[in-house]
């Protein structure tokens, strides 16, 4: 899932400094599950912001609402009727949600209340870790289900580097396990460690962000159109 984190109250307060009335819009999907932009979080944040802006001498009226999925047009259409009374929308959705709102309502300023961090999942209660970089060409079959592009700070394909320390920690951040240490262990458990002796060639990064903004097009799912000479 997409994991995001709330921007600090002081940062959002800055964004709101010249606004008088704002609509905060949360999202009930990814960001609700990582407790950044769901209904409860919207309530808490807006309460804090109302107090913060009032104490700063520039009170902002903040109304709250939540939609099921901010990234899809059908779920945000209804907001259009209300927008006239607001100076801006404060989106508590991920970066996709913010842009979806901005695209749908180009006449209204949309502000991001969250910092979208990564694609990942919970590893323990209250902790979410990055797992996928969206490289566009998954190589998890070569690495026993552990992604080196995401979990190795040097994105090694033929790791580990010489910096693994203290029984498998990454030298860059001791709280990160060395991905390659774990990959070798995992492949050993799967009894296919010798596959790692093959030298993985340079990755084609054109399927990744490096190749430019990506799209997925499914011709079988798009709205069909009658050809000119038909019907």
């Amino acid at each position: 899932m997409i994991v995001a984190d709330q921007k600090p109250v002081s940062d959002i307060k800055e964004m709101l400094h010249d606004k008088r009335k704002v609509l905060a819009v949360g999202c009930g999907t990814c960001v609700a599950v990582c407790f950044a932009g769901g209904k409860r979080e919207v309530g808490t944040l807006c309460s804090a912001l109302r107090m913060a802006t009032e104490l700063a001498g520039e009170p902002v009226e903040i109304d709250e609402t939540v939609v099921q999925r901010q990234c899809e047009a059908e779920f945000i259409e209804h907001l259009g009727d209300k927008l006239g009374e607001y100076d801006a929308i404060l989106s508590l959705g991920c970066g996709v949600g913010v842009q979806s709102l901005a695209d749908k309502f180009p006449g209204t300023r949309v502000l991001p209340g969250l910092n979208t961090k990564f694609m990942g999942g919970p590893t323990e209660q209250g902790v979410w870790a990055e797992r996928c970089q969206g490289c566009g060409n998954c190589l998890l079959d070569y690495t026993g289900g552990i992604c080196p592009i995401t979990r190795c700070p040097k994105q090694l394909m033929n790791g580990p580097c010489g910096g693994t320390e203290h029984g498998g920690q990454c030298e860059v951040d001791p709280s990160i396990p060395c991905a390659w240490y774990n990959i070798w262990e995992r492949m050993d458990k799967l009894e296919i460690q010798d596959e790692l002796m093959e030298i993985r060639p340079p990755k084609d990064w054109s399927t990744s962000r490096d190749g430019g903004m990506r799209r997925v097009v499914r011709k079988d799912l798009q709205k069909p159109v009658l050809e000119e000479d038909e019907g």
């Binding site: 700070p153 040097k154 994105q155 090694l156 394909m157 033929n158 790791g159 580990p160 580097c161 010489g162 910096g163 693994t164 320390e165 203290h166 029984g167 498998g168 030298e171 860059v172 951040d173 060395c178 240490y181 070798w184 262990e185 002796m197 030298i199 993985r200 060639p201 340079p202 990755k203 990064w205």
Partner: protein, 337 residues
């Protein structure tokens, strides 16, 4: 000129020599090789670089020039390498995967070769978070293994990484890589070196070694895997300046283990010297540090599979002379490059 170089390459392959560098010739002749290291300055002061040359020239077969080591910006390895080559000292330039993509790496190596640089050490590179520009974007288009292979194919197949031919032939390179014998997982390290050998590594420089017994075990495994048939292993050694430095390295640098005996010897070195006499204490520690380094080199000379040493005298290039002389490695074969 172009035809001459191409012919040189073909001839080189026949005799087994790939680049014709001094370091390569010393190793090919079976002599115990010595390399040193120069850290380039944090500015464009060419004189500063040239001044360091005199401390190493004649005592080493080639000198490494680090590449934005620990993520701190310094004069480029190639830039400094050209300067020292001009002074008659052969460089080993270093290329990290952190700062350059495959285009820049190939482009840089062609530029380096055009200036006569032949030895290149391929590294992943220290993460930028350690350095003075932690907010920089890191590249890591390739890893060090892929980099070795890429340079090897440029040299031996005369082709760029994309497969296109390099008209006039590829650069004559002597390709090196780094090895850290004691980093976790320890069992894996000889295998990883084997992988680097398959990728096309000609020589390897290891991280600093202080635990001789453990290193000998590593070398045995390395030899058994057949690595030393195609790869020249240069063991990393370096003189300690003080027991504090020894402890710091033991506790903070991944893969460096320092046996207690060494720390004890350093501590004992200042027995009888007043705590206030800082100069005398420092001198005593350094003398002992050099002595220990010389002993280690003697032991390494007798270790199967070790083709030479890489002396890292960090911020103490003046130590190289006494170490090389004390270890009976002076004069160097072939004299000046």
């Amino acid at each position: 000129m172009k035809t001459q170089q191409l012919a040189q390459n073909s001839a080189a392959t026949d005799s087994g020599i790939k680049s014709g560098s001094n370091l390569e010739r010393v190793l090919a002749a079976g002599d115990f090789a010595v390399t040193g290291e120069i850290g380039p300055p944090k500015n464009f002061d060419a004189e500063k670089v040239r001044n360091k040359v005199s401390l190493l020239k004649g005592y080493v077969d080639a000198a490494n020039i680090t590449d934005n080591q620990t993520g701190i910006v310094r004069m480029s390895s190639i830039g400094a390498g050209i300067l020292i080559l001009g002074e008659g000292l052969e460089p080993v330039i270093q290329v990290t995967c952190r700062d350059r993509n495959r285009l820049a790496m190939q482009s840089d190596i062609l530029g380096a070769a055009a200036h006569g640089i032949k030895n290149v050490l391929c590294l992943s590179g220290d993460h930028q978070s350690f350095g003075n520009h932690p907010g920089a974007k890191n590249v890591h288009d390739l890893d060090s293994m892929q980099l070795v292979r890429m340079f090897q194919e440029m040299r031996d197949k005369n082709q760029f990484q994309c497969g296109e031919e390099i008209s006039g032939g590829g650069p004559p390179l002597f390709i090196g890589a780094a090895a850290n014998p004691f980093a976790d997982p320890v069992d894996l390290r000889p295998l990883r070196l084997k992988k680097k050998a398959i990728a096309g590594t000609d020589f390897v420089q290891t991280q600093l070694i202080f635990d001789m017994a453990r290193f000998k075990e590593y070398m045995k495994k390395t030899v058994d895997l057949g690595v030393t048939e195609t790869v020249a292993v240069l063991a990393g050694v370096g003189p300690m300046k003080s027991p504090g430095m020894a402890r710091y390295m033991r506790d903070n640098v991944p893969g460096i283990t320092v046996p207690d005996e060494i720390i004890e010897r350093l501590e004992d070195a200042v027995k009888g010297i007043s705590k206030d006499d800082k100069e005398a204490r420092s001198h005593a520690w350094r003398s002992e540090g050099i002595k220990i380094c010389i002993e280690q080199i003697e032991e390494l000379k007798d270790t199967d599979g070790v083709a030479g040493v890489h002396i890292m005298a960090i911020e103490w290039e003046a130590a190289i002379k006494p170490i090389v002389e004390g270890a009976g490695l002076y004069p160097r074969p072939g004299g000046d490059t």
